[in-house]
């Protein structure tokens, strides 16, 4: 290994030592993990938080009077506070969910089914993950509303003209991603929310690919709902967050019924607990919520500005290195400042799955497929792309390994 990246930001070699999985070999090769947009690896601190919870103070929360219960409740709520603060929000506005997908679906059921009426317009965009399209399709169908999409510009941005046009039709909802999981495009969430709110819409912002990669401040973005997933930001699987403005949350129907979210149950009706508990039915995912708190601590210690700096350097390096590969087409905006740390591409007529299989043999893990963004694939007019996505432990070496793997695929496929 020669080119381990040394940013002023942090010492990548030291960071790598925090991630036990990076010691592992794949097909006898060093693991080069470039599938971070799908899910990130976990630092020892997060794993330790889980072990500590289960070994020392595992208990159900909120309703317990005993010591374990008090400790588990305190840790769970402390995690809520840290996670909310991490994105510039209030703990009371932070609902723990399984992930981004559950968050958007929660909004669909608890806000949408109550507030959307026949003939209403819902707006999403053509660069969304299915999780920010399908709930609105289902909502449109169940309420008799219409769903339209903001078009894209050829260089992979949201077409602001298209947005403005749709806003003139007074949509009730504008759902868009803060950052595309394929193009890498970082949308100006603050500006879009302002426009959408001016048009009278409620905004749902998908933060799955933003919160893990650069500083996010909800106080300035002003989104009504903002969703993200723990497992994409060094946290455990099974936990994520829906941030919602308190007034909206209070005015919503419950989502799931039972357990924590109840105040009183009578034969024919029930009353609900305060927000955010009203939306946390049943036994919550205590351990993983606490694990997410540890992930937030880890990222905070590195500093999200530094994480962003690191990824931009990787991005610049990747684009330099890959621009030399004949037949390789990269999607999304040119300017690294306008995009997040991932590169989606196609290489000659080598199908992404075949490329991924060949790369895997070299220890290089990338994602291949439609990335749950089939509308976007149709815009790009490809059935699939390959995607290499970065996080804090990636280095220049990793990108060199990616390039070497691509060259090998080129040789096998006689590109």
């Amino acid at each position: 290994m020669t080119g381990l990246l040394q940013t002023e930001a942090f010492d990548v070699e030291k960071v790598r030592a925090d991630f036990p999985i990076l010691k592992r070999k794949v097909h006898g090769k060093r693991l080069v993990y470039l599938d971070n947009a799908a899910t990130t690896q976990k630092p020892q601190a997060v794993i330790d938080a889980l072990v500590d919870y289960y070994s020392r103070y595992n208990s159900n929360v909120h309703r317990s009077v005993h010591t374990l219960g008090e400790e588990a409740t305190a840790a769970y709520e402390a995690s809520r506070e840290r996670v909310a603060k991490f994105v510039g929000g209030e703990p009371r506005e932070a609902v723990f969910v399984r992930g981004t997908t559950e968050a958007t679906n929660l909004v669909r059921y608890a806000w949408g089914e109550k507030h959307i009426a026949k003939g209403d317009l819902l707006v999403s965009t053509r660069m969304e993950h299915h999780s920010n399209i399908v709930p609105w399709q289902l909502l449109a169908r169940s309420r008799g509303a219409t769903l339209k999409f903001v078009e894209l510009t050829p260089d992979g941005h949201l077409d602001m003209g298209s947005l403005e046009e749709l806003l003139r039709e007074s949509p009730r909802l504008v759902a868009f991603t803060h950052c595309s999981n394929v193009l890498g495009t970082i949308n100006d969430a603050t500006a879009i929310c302002a426009k959408a709110h001016a048009a009278g819409a409620v905004t749902v912002v998908d933060g799955a690919q933003s919160v893990p990669h650069f500083p996010v401040d909800l106080a300035s973005i002003g989104a009504d709902f903002y969703a993200f997933s723990g497992h994409k930001m060094l946290g455990p699987t099974g936990i994520g967050v829906l941030m919602g403005k308190k007034q909206l949350l209070q005015d919503m129907d419950p989502f799931e019924g039972g357990g924590e979210m109840i105040r009183e149950v009578f034969d024919d009706h029930s009353t609900w607990n305060d927000v955010p508990y009203k939306f946390e039915a049943g036994t919550v995912n205590i351990a993983d919520a606490i694990g997410l708190g540890a992930a937030v601590d880890y990222l905070t210690a590195l500093g999200m500005d530094n994480v962003r700096k690191h990824e931009v350097r990787l991005l610049d390096y990747a684009r330099d290195v890959l621009s030399g590969v004949k037949g390789l087409q990269v999607y999304g905006p040119e300017d690294s400042q306008q995009r997040s740390g991932l590169v989606a591409f196609n290489y000659a007529d080598v199908h992404p799955h075949d490329l991924a299989t060949i790369l895997d043999e070299e220890g290089v893990a990338i994602r291949s497929g439609h990335h749950c963004a089939q509308l976007l694939m149709r815009c790009l007019d490809v059935p699939a792309t390959s995607r290499a996505s970065f996080h804090v432990y990636n280095s220049y070496d990793d990108i060199d390994a990616l390039k070497q793997g691509i060259m090998k695929a080129g040789a096998i496929f006689k590109v």
Partner: protein, 138 residues
């Protein structure tokens, strides 16, 4: 502090013989709440006099010794006070009434239920909104 200290003679006495327990025939304020975490329940009724003072106050409820004793003690303290006084009440006042017991966060909610009901009722009467502080650690 051990539980023997928490459950002092006085607390048990208020639990078993709650002062100001019952309903008012005529009242200006009627406030009710439950603790969703444990089901404890308190209702308070208040009659306000011409000078906006708490002329009469009674409570009913069910729940643990701590929630019932603290609600009862609070009604005693409140009686005769101006409504504005209720705004000044803080949780430390309630803890003091109880003898400053060392309560875990979930039992703190029991101790403060009466205060919440009192404040919600009086704030509402004064045209204000009582927003419970977001204080999970008690």
């Amino acid at each position: 502090m051990s539980s023997a200290d928490i459950y002092r003679e006085l607390i048990l006495d208020y639990y078993r013989n709650p002062r100001n327990f019952g309903k008012l025939e005529k009242f200006d304020i009627d406030s009710h709440d439950t603790n969703p975490l444990c089901g404890d329940e308190i209702e308070m009724q208040i009659r306000v006099d011409g000078q906006n003072r708490i002329e009469e106050i009674k409570f009913t409820g069910k729940g643990c010794a701590i929630s019932q004793a603290s609600a009862s003690m609070l009604t005693e303290l409140a009686k005769g006070k101006p409504l504005e006084w209720v705004r000044q009440v803080v949780k430390e006042d309630v803890f003091k009434l109880l003898g400053n017991p060392d309560l875990g966060p979930s039992r703190v909610k029991c101790a403060l239920l009466g205060m919440k009901v009192l404040k919600t009722g009086v704030y509402g009467y004064l045209g204000a909104h009582y927003d419970e502080p977001d204080d999970r650690s008690g």
